[in-house]
Symmetry: C2
Subunit: 360 residues, 2 copies
C-alpha cells in the first residue's frame, strides 16, 4: 500500500469513517468521535492538509496518554447578552469550538452580534472550519485561536513566545461562494511546514529562519528555527493581539504558558479560541448585503491583471474549488502519511484506510 | 518662519487651538471644531503625522466646497442590544466615530460586547485614536475603517479597487502602557507616503510598485503606482475583509464606490468605519486580565534578542514614548507643512500657528 510514493485517493466519507474508528478505539464516545472525524475530514476535503488527518496520530497519542478528557463537561462559565466564555474541560477542541459557535449563533440572533471565547480547549483544526456554519445562516463570523506550539519570537527577538495564532473570517455572498479568509499571522502556518516535511519537499525562503537569522529551507529541521510573521512587526503585532483575544481574555494559555503539543502529549494545553458572529439581519436585508458582495467580487475578478497572472482569486475560492474537485475525484493522501495511518490502524487494531481507485 | 527648512515645535494645545480656529473659520460650529481639533492634535502628539494637522488644508477645502456637512444629524439607523449602525450624515469623521465609540461603550457595558458601524462618515484620522477611550474604561477595542482613496489592487491585479483599510486594537494593561496596534493592511499607509513627500525623503523599497511592477521610491510620484499589501495575498485578504466589515456591512463605500478625497473635494465620501468594544468585566476581574498582560509584556521585553537589536517593543510603546516626549518638548511640524499652514492661515484670515522655542 502506497509503496510507490504516490498519494492514494479517498472519499471524505471513507476518511471520516476511518478517523472515527481510530478515535473510538482510542477512547472517545461514538457520537463525539463522529463529530470530530467529520470536521477533520472536512479540513482535508478543502485542502487544509496541515490540519486534517495528518494530526490523527498525535490526537490519538494524546487521548491514550490521558492528555485529553474523553468525557468533558463543556459548559458556559460567564455570560452576558452578547458574550460567553466556555470552559472546554480539556475536551477535543473540535467539540468545544462547535459548541461555542452554536452559542454565538444563538446569541447573535437576538443581540445582533455575539462573542464567545473558550478556555481549556484543544487544537481544533483549521480556523475556517468554524466560520462556515454562521455563514450558512447569513452571518459573518470571525475566528481567533492561540496556536498549540510557539514558533514565533517577538519582532527583533530570538525566543519563541508566540504561536502562528490564526485568524479566519467568513462573509456570506449571493451567487458565488462565501468569502473565507483563513490565515496564520506568520508567512506560513506550522501545519504547512509539517505537510512539506511529510511530502519530502523544501520550504521556500521567507517561511522560517534559523537561530542565526539565516533562511531555513529544510522542513525536517524546523525545530532549529522559527517562523517569520507577515509584514515584519505588523504580523508580530497581529499574532500578539490574536493571542490576547483568544487566550489571555479567556484565561487560556498564552506566551510561556502555551504547551507544545508536538512534544508534550500529557499536560492539558488550556487552548484558547474565540469566535465573533455578526447577524446580517441586524444591519438590514441580507440579500442586499450579499448582492453588494457579489458586485464587489465581480469587480475584483474582472479587474486588470499583472502580466502573467491568469486570474484574480478571492479568499476562499481556491479551497472552494478544491472541495469540489476532491469531492469528485477523492482526497489525495500522501504516501508518507498513508504509512503513518497504516501503522496507527495496526496499533489500534482497526481496519486500515482503504484507497478508492482514481476515476479512469 | 521655517525658512531654514527645520521643523518648528508646537505644543498640543497650540496646535489644537490653531486647528480649531481654521475649522471654525471654514464653517464648523465652535464645539465640533474643538472636538475635531483635539483629536487631530492627539494624532500629531503620538507621532501619527500622516493623519494629523497635515490633513487640515484638505479638510478645510472640503468643508468650504460643501463636501462636508457642517450641521450633520448623526443618528442611529439600526440597533440591537449589542450593535448599532450610525449614519454620519456626511459630518466630519472624527465626530461620527467619537459618537459611535460612545454608543459601543454604553452597549458593551450591559451586553458585554458591542459592535457599532458607521456610514456617511468621513476620514477620521489615525485608527488608534478611537480605541483609547474604551481602553481607559477597562475595555478592549477593535477599530476597522475603509481608507479614503484606493491605492491597493487585488493580489495579482493592476486596478486599485481597495484601500489601505486599517485595523487598530487597544488592550488595557496594568502597570505599563496599553497595548495599541494600529496598522494599515499595506506595508505602508498612504499617509506615510504623503509625510515622506512632505519631508522630501525617498520611500524604502517594498512600500510601492509602479504599473510595470517595479519598485517606486519617489513619494511625489505616488500616484503613478500602488501600495503593496503585507504578506502578499494575506494582506490583500485582510484589506478586503476590513472593507467588507467597515464598508459594505454598513452600506458605506467600498471598492469602486470609494471616493478619492485627495482629488475630489465635493462628492460625499460615504466613508465606513466600525468599532468592536469588549468589556473586560464580562469575562472576569479586569485586574486579573491586566496583570496577565503585564506578565506577558515582561516576558516579551526580557526575552533574548537578535544580534544588534536594542530592545523588544510592544505595539503602541513607541507612540506612547513619542506622546510623552512631544508633550514635554513640543510636536515637530516639518517646514514644508508649516509653509502650507501659513498659507492656509492667510487664506482663512486667522492668526498663524506660532512656534514654541525648543527647550534649552
Amino acid at each position: 500500500m502506497a509503496t510507490d510514493n504516490k498519494p492514494i485517493l479517498v472519499s471524505a466519507g471513507q476518511l471520516s469513517a476511518f478517523i472515527a474508528r481510530a478515535l473510538v478505539s482510542a477512547g472517545l464516545p461514538q457520537q463525539d468521535a463522529a463529530k470530530v472525524a467529520h470536521l477533520m475530514a472536512a479540513a482535508d476535503l478543502q485542502g487544509s492538509d496541515g490540519h486534517g488527518v495528518i494530526r490523527l496520530p498525535q490526537y490519538v497519542k494524546r487521548i491514550k496518554t490521558g492528555g485529553i478528557n474523553t468525557r468533558p463537561n463543556i459548559r458556559i462559565v460567564s455570560e452576558r447578552a452578547a458574550m460567553a466564555v466556555v470552559d472546554g474541560d480539556n475536551g477535543m477542541g473540535h467539540l468545544v469550538m462547535s459548541h461555542a459557535v452554536d452559542i454565538a449563533i444563538e446569541k447573535a440572533r437576538s443581540a445582533g452580534v455575539a462573542w464567545v471565547g473558550a478556555r481549556a480547549s484543544n487544537h481544533a483544526g483549521p480556523a475556517s472550519l468554524y466560520v462556515r456554519k454562521p455563514v450558512e445562516q447569513d452571518m459573518i463570523a470571525l475566528y481567533f485561536a492561540v496556536g498549540n506550539a510557539n514558533h514565533l519570537p517577538p519582532w527583533g527577538g530570538m525566543e519563541m513566545l508566540l504561536s502562528t495564532n490564526p485568524i479566519a473570517v467568513g462573509v456570506p455572498a449571493g451567487s458565488g461562494p462565501a468569502i473565507v479568509l483563513d490565515m496564520a499571522t506568520t508567512v506560513a502556518a506550522y501545519g504547512k511546514v509539517k505537510a512539506k516535511a511529510k511530502r519530502g519537499e523544501q520550504m521556500p525562503e521567507g517561511w522560517m529562519i534559523d537561530r542565526q537569522g539565516k533562511p531555513l529551507l529544510d522542513p525536517t529541521r524546523a525545530e532549529e528555527g522559527f517562523l517569520l510573521p507577515i509584514g515584519g512587526h505588523k504580523g508580530y503585532g497581529l499574532a500578539l493581539i490574536v493571542g490576547l483575544l483568544a487566550g489571555t481574555l479567556n484565561g487560556a494559555a498564552m506566551g510561556r504558558d502555551v504547551v507544545d503539543f508536538n512534544h508534550d502529549h500529557v499536560t492539558p494545553t488550556n487552548t484558547g479560541q474565540a469566535v465573533l458572529v455578526i447577524d446580517l439581519r441586524a444591519f438590514g436585508e441580507p440579500a442586499v448585503f450579499k448582492a453588494a458582495v457579489d458586485r464587489l467580487a465581480h469587480d475584483l475578478h474582472s479587474s486588470e491583471r499583472l502580466p502573467g497572472v491568469e486570474r484574480i482569486w478571492l479568499p476562499g475560492e481556491q479551497s472552494h474549488q478544491r472541495r469540489q474537485k476532491y469531492a469528485d475525484q477523492g482526497i489525495p493522501i500522501p504516501a508518507g502519511l498513508v504509512a503513518d495511518l497504516v501503522a496507527l490502524a495496526k496499533e489500534l487494531d482497526i481496519p486500515a484506510l482503504v484507497s478508492e481507485q482514481p476515476p479512469t
